[in-house]
Symmetry: C2
Subunit: 190 residues, 2 copies
DNA sequence: ATTAGACTGATTTCGTATTTGAGTCGAAGG
DNA sequence: CCTTCGACTCAAATACGAAATCAGTCTAAT
């Protein structure tokens, strides 16, 4: 890795650090610069804007979650069980990640366009994973009621359900039995 | 019906009319009074407060929806099919009711306590209906995976899913195929 | 190529003056 | 009495202008 990337990485680390603590709106570029031990305009030498830094920071967090989640579900063979675990993990993991959760909850004001873009990215990632799991389930004939051509919409719906539950039942998300009912409901039906 | 109730009803009608048009925050007591052809303080003779009027108006709307919904699902015998129709109707009906939808979407600012109370009432109504359907399904052995003691939590989760979808997928709720996937997912599983 | 410090202008914040509107009251018509 | 009203109050919302903040730029110095 060259010097350039080293510094970009250092800035990102500082950014994640302060975003974690203060959120998108409350952290200033100076906060990030100070935490990185650099001048403010130095940040602009490496990144185009605050939004670009935020996007990069968010993406790294998302990658970390994705890596953890994939590590867990890859060990499971049954697609049904995979999906169950996936939903349960996502429901708890996203909430734990304080830099992502406000995003999901829509707690960020201002610049809706940008935020929507980031949120969309999050959705796309989740939908991709769910779709992958669903495809496996269809191929192994474990998901009887789902048809190949419904795959996209089904993934969209399932992520929608997850997101909705995050928004609506977030207070009670630590209730294991409830999570179990949710996952069973989706995989087994009533 | 005595004169007293007549006037209360007339005020409520006016209230529903203006609430429908302007929402809770933007309609003033004077608006309601004017629409009812009465003086403002007259309203206070019949109702304790603006909130009481709003609550009464909302309850009437809710009752109307409930009556329509019940009329439809009572004609269906299979609990599974009942629940399917129930979810589909609720998803479309609530959205159509412009006085209720902002409530569900949390678009009302100020006096959170009061709004939460009303929202809770809405949830309770929905949960009661869902619970009823689920109970029938358990008794007729149509819902294999659901156990009697999970009934409360299951109803809560299903309403949570409906609410979440209303919040999150509201843009695309007119997509019939998607609604079908949602209902099938819940009743049949994958 | 890299960094910093000073600068700019658009946006936010803040303090205050003004208006609005829910709820009260006393009086008056029926 | 029962019902209705217009005038009143006071807390909260709003409008607004001044002051501060901060993303992003520019220039100059390594």
């Amino acid at each position: 890795m060259n010097k350039d990337d080293e510094i970009k990485k250092a800035i990102l680390l500082a950014a994640k650090h302060v975003f974690q603590k203060w959120g998108l709106n409350k952290t200033t570029m100076e906060d990030i610069a100070h935490d990185a031990g650099k001048g403010k305009s130095t940040l602009y030498y490496y990144y185009k804007s605050k939004e670009e830094i935020f996007e990069a920071a968010t993406n790294e967090e998302l990658n970390n979650i994705a890596i953890r989640v994939r590590a867990i579900i890859e060990q499971i063979k049954s697609p049904k069980e995979k999906l169950k675990r996936y939903i349960a993990i996502t429901l708890t993991e996203i909430k734990k990640t304080t830099s992502i959760y406000p995003l999901v909850k829509g707690e960020i004001k201002g610049n809706t366009k940008f935020i929507d873009k980031i949120r969309k990215q999050l959705d796309n990632r989740e939908e991709a994973i769910v779709k992958e799991i669903l495809k496996q389930g269809i191929n192994s004939n474990e998901f009887n009621f789902l048809k190949e051509e419904q795959l996209d919409k089904a993934a969209n719906v399932i992520v929608g359900i997850i997101r909705g539950l995050e928004l609506y039942l977030f207070l009670e998300m630590d209730d294991e039995e409830k999570i179990d009912i949710i996952t069973s409901l989706i995989t087994e039906g009533l």
